[in-house]
Structures are given as structure tokens and as C-alpha cells.
């Protein structure tokens, strides 16, 4: 294990320590896993508002006349179809169809795309995009220029609105605008990784501590809580959002991960397209599906899944669901069986425990 001094830290590192957060090594980053407790933080986001330091996330920018063409070559979703000020979820794939990373693509201008990528993958992503850049677009590794704070929950808008002249009600879901938060230039995106309404703001690192304090004060009347990676994980799992290294990795394709909606075959050539077409023609062998435990026990990442008495797949994520009060999870099963209503067994410490596949997402917010 890397020593503490070798870990990356965010501009909010000292704030987390002052708040008494429990810190963990997350993909080479020393990050808060929890402050008051995962369930408490989780419920704050579901019923009020929570704030997260997600400055570990990476940023990569593509600029120039060929920016859109390169974005469409290296991602699965149709980047050039985005309107200026719009964002979408997408995949970066290898030629063989497995994930390099899952990312958010923001179209800032016709000649400027802003990518938000996973912390542990950012260098790999940058190299990958560069290796396909025969179009001579300008590709910038811009992570050091941004801190990112997520404000999430039904009271997120009311909280952030106090700090910005931008009318947040005018920013539609998965759109963004460049404005100011508390006098500081900020990219304000109506996005999130919690399944709840909320915003993610990209701000200069040197302003992060002041903005964190101001957001905390602004959310005081709504009981705002700082939230760590533990709650971020349970929230995203309830909303069935993929986590790299769990639901997806270099060996898994978007079709298998039930992410066919981010693959736009009709947009033309993109890295991984041939492999996905082949996979589609031959039929999928496995597919991601959600389940709920019926027996007593909690499924965890990596546990074996049995179907009709034989090994059939594996758990990618599993946890108690604080909002639903059930034990939930995601697993890979043979594609023919990856549908709701199947009885399966999760092997928990050598004992088969019954579960049943269910429709996902597990949790859907009221609109």
C-alpha cells in the first residue's frame, strides 16, 4: 500500500480533517469516506441537501475546429449532437469494446468540449484520447485547474441559488452554464451521481475552501451535511449508476453493462464500434441486472451468483439501501436470464442466500 504522503489530495483536504472525516485511499487519492455516518449523509441527500468534495475527478478539454470530430471518435454517445451548454453521459472504449472509462461530456462551444472523468483513470484517459488524435485537435489535461463540489438533494437548488446570480431554475437537467458562484467564475452543471436533483460546480482550486464554507452556510437552514464517498456509493447504487472498477472495466462493454443508450451506432465511426456491432450480432453472453436480497445477508462486490444450482455470475456492487431499507445489489448473469423476477442465490461466506432480480433503478426521485 502507498504511504499516506504518496497519495494525492484535493484543495479541501484540510477542511475534511477539520470536520473529523474518516479518510481513505481511493484510487490513489486521500478522500473522505464519511463524516457523520453513511446512513445519515445518505438520507440528508435524499431528503434535504448534502455537499461532496469531488475534486479528485479529472478534467480533459478538447478544443479546435476538429474538437467535435475527435470527441465523437473517442466516445460512444453522439457528442456533436449536443447543444452548446448541454452535457451527457458517455463511454471511452478500447477497440475491443471494453471501457477505458465512463465520462461526462459537456459542449462548451462548437470547438470546445469539456470532459469530466474518473480520478483513477484520468492519466490513462488523456493518453488514450491523445493516441487517437490524428485530427490534431488540442487536448488538454486540465484537472489541476479545477476543484469540483457537488451539491445534491431536493434542497440543492435553494442552497446554491443563494450564492449565484444565475437563475438555476433555467438550467435544465444535464445542461450547464458558465457563471459565478459567490463572485468566483464557476461552471455550474445540473448533473450528479446520486439519483437526486443537484448541481456540480467546477471552480478554481484556490477558491474551493471559501466556497465550501459558503455553501455550508447557505444550506444551514436545510440541514446540509458534508457527505463522503461512502454515501456517494450507496446513493449511486440506489440510482443504478455504474462505478468504474465494479459494473464496468476494460473487460466489459456498454451493451453488457445495460448502457446501450449511450452507444450511438448511427453517428459513424468511433473507437470500439466494430467490436460492439460484432457483440450485438453474436448476441450478448452476459448482462448487468439488479437484485434484492430475500434471505438475511448483504451481497458484496465479487460474491458469486448461482442460478438453478450452478455458478452463473458475480456481484459487482452490493449494499444495504438506506432509503429503501432493503439489501440491494447489481450482478452479471447470462443475458437470457438477466431480467426481473428470477430467483438467484448469492454465496455469502460459503452459504447460498436467496435473492431475486428486480427492475432498476432501485430508487427514483419524485419529479
Amino acid at each position: 500500500m502507498a504511504s499516506a504522503s504518496a497519495l494525492h489530495t484535493t484543495p479541501l483536504h484540510s477542511v475534511h480533517h477539520a470536520l473529523g472525516a474518516r479518510m481513505v485511499d481511493f484510487g490513489g487519492w486521500e478522500m473522505p469516506v464519511q463524516y457523520s455516518g453513511i446512513i445519515d449523509e445518505h438520507m440528508a441527500v435524499r431528503t434535504g441537501v448534502g455537499l461532496f468534495d469531488v475534486s479528485h475527478m479529472g478534467e480533459i478539454e478538447i478544443r479546435g475546429p476538429e474538437a467535435g470530430a475527435l470527441a465523437d471518435l473517442v466516445t460512444t454517445n453522439h457528442a456533436r449532437k449536443l447543444k452548446i451548454g448541454q452535457a451527457h453521459y458517455s463511454g471511452l472504449l478500447y477497440e475491443h469494446g471494453g471501457f477505458v472509462d465512463d465520462i461526462l461530456v459537456h459542449k462548451v462551444a462548437e470547438d470546445h468540449y469539456f470532459l469530466c472523468v474518473n480520478a483513477a483513470n484520468q492519466e490513462k484517459d488523456f493518453e488514450h484520447i491523445g493516441s487517437h488524435n490524428h485530427l490534431n485537435a488540442e487536448v488538454e489535461f486540465s484537472s489541476p485547474r479545477y476543484a469540483q463540489i457537488a451539491i445534491q438533494g431536493p434542497r440543492a437548488r435553494a442552497t446554491l441559488q443563494k450564492l449565484t446570480p444565475v437563475d438555476l431554475a433555467e438550467i435544465k437537467y444535464y445542461w450547464f452554464t458558465d457563471g459565478e458562484v459567490s463572485g468566483t467564475p464557476a461552471r455550474i452543471a445540473h448533473t450528479g451521481y446520486t439519483g437526486e436533483d443537484g448541481f456540480e460546480i467546477y471552480v478554481p482550486p484556490e477558491e474551493a475552501q471559501r466556497l465550501w464554507r459558503e455553501v455550508t452556510e447557505a444550506g444551514g437552514e436545510f440541514g446540509i451535511k458534508p457527505c463522503g464517498l461512502g454515501a456517494r456509493n450507496t446513493l449511486r447504487l440506489e440510482a443504478k449508476m455504474a462505478l468504474y472498477g465494479h459494473e464496468i472495466d476494460a473487460t466489459i462493454s456498454p451493451l453488457e453493462a445495460d448502457l446501450g443508450w449511450i452507444v450511438k451506432f448511427d453517428k459513424g465511426e468511433f473507437v470500439g464500434r466494430e467490436a460492439l456491432i460484432r457483440q450485438k450480432e453474436q448476441g450478448l453472453t452476459r448482462k448487468l441486472v439488479g437484485f434484492e436480497m430475500r434471505g438475511r445477508g448483504i451481497a458484496r462486490d465479487g460474491y458469486e451468483v448461482y442460478l438453478e444450482g450452478a455458478p452463473a455470475g458475480w456481484v459487482t456492487s452490493g449494499s444495504p439501501s438506506p432509503a429503501l431499507n432493503r439489501n440491494i445489489g447489481l450482478c452479471y448473469l447470462p443475458a437470457a436470464h438477466a431480467q426481473a423476477g428470477k430467483t438467484i442465490q448469492i454465496i455469502i461466506r460459503n452459504q447460498p442466500v436467496e435473492a431475486v432480480t428486480v427492475e432498476t433503478p432501485f430508487y427514483k426521485r419524485a419529479k
Partner: protein
């Protein structure tokens, strides 16, 4: 902070010895490290356990943690209240959050465990 009348393991279990009866739990430090405990898996009454063998497990929202028996003996009672109220482990680890009682085959084994002062120093050094 750390009760004086108990003995402690390096894996953060505690043992209370009363005659040949042992009561086993996890320490305040252990529950603090685990966070919100949501599930407890305990052995059946009658299970024979060797010292340091797996006794059961405790799960927080985030992870599973195995519990090891601090002494050898036979389980005489498992704390049934934890099935519906696992949070007792967080709230009262040295009291209502006890895990099992056992008939100790050798109460003198407690001598191989840490005293409160030793455990306090051990936890301090671990940080």
C-alpha cells in the same frame, strides 16, 4: 474509556471472564472504525470455537468485518436482539452490543490477551 475489567485482542474483540463464562464483544474503537453497523452474523448455540477462530461477522454499510473468538469454548447464548437492532453495537459496544456468551474451556486463556492499558496503548500506536 476502555473498560478495565475486560481483556482485548489485536482484532479489537473484548472478553469478559466470570468464572468459566466468557462474554464476547467488539471494542468501541472497532465500532467507530466500522461505522453504521447494519448486520450481525453470529454462531448457533452449541458451536465449539477455538481461540482465534472465526466466530462470526459484523457488517457496516461499507464492508464486512470478521470477528474472531478471543478464547476457546462452546457458545451458550448469542445476542438475539442484534438481529433487529444491530445499531446497538454502535451505541453500546461494551453493554447491550455484546455478541455471544460462551462456556470457556480454559478461562486462563484470558491471560494471553491484552489488558485495558495494553489495548489502549495498542490502539494509540495503530493510529
Amino acid at each position: 474509556m476502555v473498560p478495565e475489567n475486560l481483556r482485548y485482542t489485536k482484532e479489537h474483540e473484548w472478553l469478559l471472564v466470570e468464572g468459566d463464562t466468557g462474554t464476547v464483544g467488539i471494542t468501541d474503537h472497532a465500532q467507530e472504525e466500522l461505522g453504521d453497523i447494519v448486520y450481525v452474523d453470529l454462531p448457533r448455540v452449541g458451536t465449539a470455537l477455538a481461540q482465534a477462530s472465526p466466530l462470526g461477522s459484523v457488517e457496516s454499510v461499507k464492508a464486512v468485518s470478521e470477528i474472531f473468538s478471543p478464547a476457546s469454548g462452546e457458545v451458550t447464548e448469542a445476542n438475539a436482539a442484534l438481529a433487529d437492532a444491530p445499531e446497538k453495537l454502535n451505541e453500546d459496544p461494551y453493554g447491550a452490543g455484546w455478541l455471544v456468551k460462551m462456556k470457556l474451556s480454559d478461562p486462563a486463556q484470558a491471560g494471553s490477551l491484552m489488558t485495558a492499558a495494553e489495548y489502549q496503548a495498542y490502539v494509540g500506536a495503530e493510529k
